[in-house]
Symmetry: C2
Subunit: 327 residues, 2 copies
């Protein structure tokens, strides 16, 4: 392991001069600086984080608590956040340990901030864990233990419903994952129910198409079952992008055209890579809005040393050809 002192010896200067030279301090003359930098490169010098963070009390590192790798749901988010933080000089580290252990680890490592993916609050602690490091949570902002970035899924679905009603639809169905108690999915269902209630005074029975998962095949199966039962609808609000893909397959099989026979609005955060014949309308908070919000919040926590408020992101709608006005 080559240290700052080896460089000093090789360059014939004191080691503190080397330190300054490598940090590009104006306290060392350009020629000397250049010589030192060259020697450092030549020797393949790598600064020792332990030593550095011992004195600076910083590690330029952000820890991400991610207890459920299996659920690839947030993969896209993490990738982007990782990139954005990198642009600001921070390194991202993931821990797939359970929340408590992960936070502990990150505290020991003297990470500068912690981002916690709070998967449906399933196994979250009910009292804030002791931490010297500021923690930001991504999940549900209802009675959060930590400042939280939340996506208003309920309003997103509601927005979809309202939009469809406003262009003349009356018979609207919602397809979503209802296989398990999952707060995130429940929010969507109740968004649908409330959205309908707000527009139709008399209580209409909600048309719910229950899928048993969030995969393409789940959507395909659920929609097919719906159609097989002879049920019909003029518009479908879908709880996820993959489900939507399944729905489209099923509709195709039944020779139902989009949007002539059925209009579709899909919940989604992914920037649309239009792989469909008919561009699909989307509601949701765009992924880069989410990631920028998170990144900014993290950087604020680190630099301003101030605890940010919880933030609820409101959805946008992007209308496309998949929606047909009915009047």
């Amino acid at each position: 392991m080559v240290t700052i002192k080896d460089i000093a010896k090789a360059a014939g200067v004191s080691y503190s001069t080397v330190s300054k030279a490598l940090r590009d301090s104006p306290l060392v003359k350009p020629p000397t600086k250049k010589k030192i930098v060259n020697i450092a490169n030549e020797l393949g010098y790598q600064p020792n984080v332990a030593a550095r963070s011992l004195v600076s009390k910083k590690s330029d590192t952000v820890g991400v608590v991610w207890p459920t790798v299996e659920r690839a749901a947030h993969a896209a988010l993490i990738t982007k956040i990782n990139d954005q933080l990198e642009n600001h000089g921070y390194t991202t580290l993931l821990s797939i340990n359970k929340v408590e252990a992960a936070i502990n680890t990150f505290n020991r490592l003297q990470v500068d901030a912690i981002l916690m993916f709070n998967d449906q609050g399933q196994d979250g602690p009910d009292t804030p864990l002791p931490s010297n490091v500021p923690i930001l949570s991504y999940g549900i902002a209802k009675n959060p233990l930590y400042p939280t970035v939340d996506v208003n899924r309920r309003d997103a679905i509601k927005l979809a419903v309202h939009t469809l009603v406003d262009i003349g639809h009356k018979n609207i169905a919602f397809i979503g994952d209802m296989s398990q108690r999952d707060q995130l999915q429940d929010e969507k269902v109740s968004g649908f129910t409330e959205g309908m209630k707000e527009r139709f005074q008399e209580a209409t029975a909600d048309v719910l198409i229950p899928a048993s998962g969030l995969e393409l095949y789940d959507g395909y199966l659920a929609m097919k079952k719906f159609l097989q039962a002879g049920k019909t609808t003029t518009a479908v609000v879908s709880g996820s992008y993959d489900l939507t893909r399944g729905v489209i397959r099923a509709l195709n099989e039944y020779n139902l055209s989009i949007p002539k026979d059925v209009s579709i609005i899909s919940y989604d955060n992914i920037p649309q890579t239009n792989t469909f014949e008919v561009p699909i309308s989307l509601v949701g908070v765009p992924n880069d809005v989410i990631t920028s919000t998170i990144t900014d919040a993290l950087l604020n926590m680190i630099n301003k040393k101030q605890v940010p408020q919880s933030i609820v992101l409101e959805p946008e709608i992007k209308l496309n050809e998949s929606c047909l006005a009915l009047e």
Copy 2:
């Protein structure tokens, strides 16, 4: 941040005594030790890794290079490896940066070992990266730059083919992801081709069912297309668990029974959670064999400071009711 010195002051002893007490050294009298430990707990003391690893040159941490979070393929592996390392007192950290940056980070962090998930060697460097830390790779052991743990996918499929031939099958098909150049998948295809060639002298045209991915729906679609075209087979070797699920769906739709009409052997590493009516035969290296091998290799690298050889794991077959003998 409470340090060892704060404890020393509170306990009225020197700080070196505190250090020894907390590390349970025999050099400090039990009563003193107890008192110190109590105070430490009370103050919520957390050792500073930076300081510790500065002097000990260890961090009790293993870094995992995982550039493609999106591909959830290895999630199960990582989870298990994480647990096993934890049992040995090591913390696992993941980096989703690209290989070079990740290795750099881990070097700076003075991680004790690095595990690299070498996704189909797609963007791997072609010359070993400079690293002070031993690196183990999981992927393909063919001309590896680092000691590598490899799974013999080719022989796994071959084993499946041979087994089917030996129980009387002649018309055998292989379904796999042939959508993209992926070394891992290619290995399986050629395992099939070779396996057939070894048993049938005359060159029979291989029956390949090309799927356009590794998801359930891809298998379903590919198999359905195969059947729709009026083709038949008495046995299917499937390249992945999810594909197999899709195949089964398709067979069900065509009222073909397993194993009466079609026998199935599936490639898989996952310990079988029997969700099927008919238990499926499996080939592959069980996941816990893979993870234990990796964990052991990592620990060896750390403790013995010796570079291990590359290891190729040989597959096992687990015959179940999904295979019917034909004579």
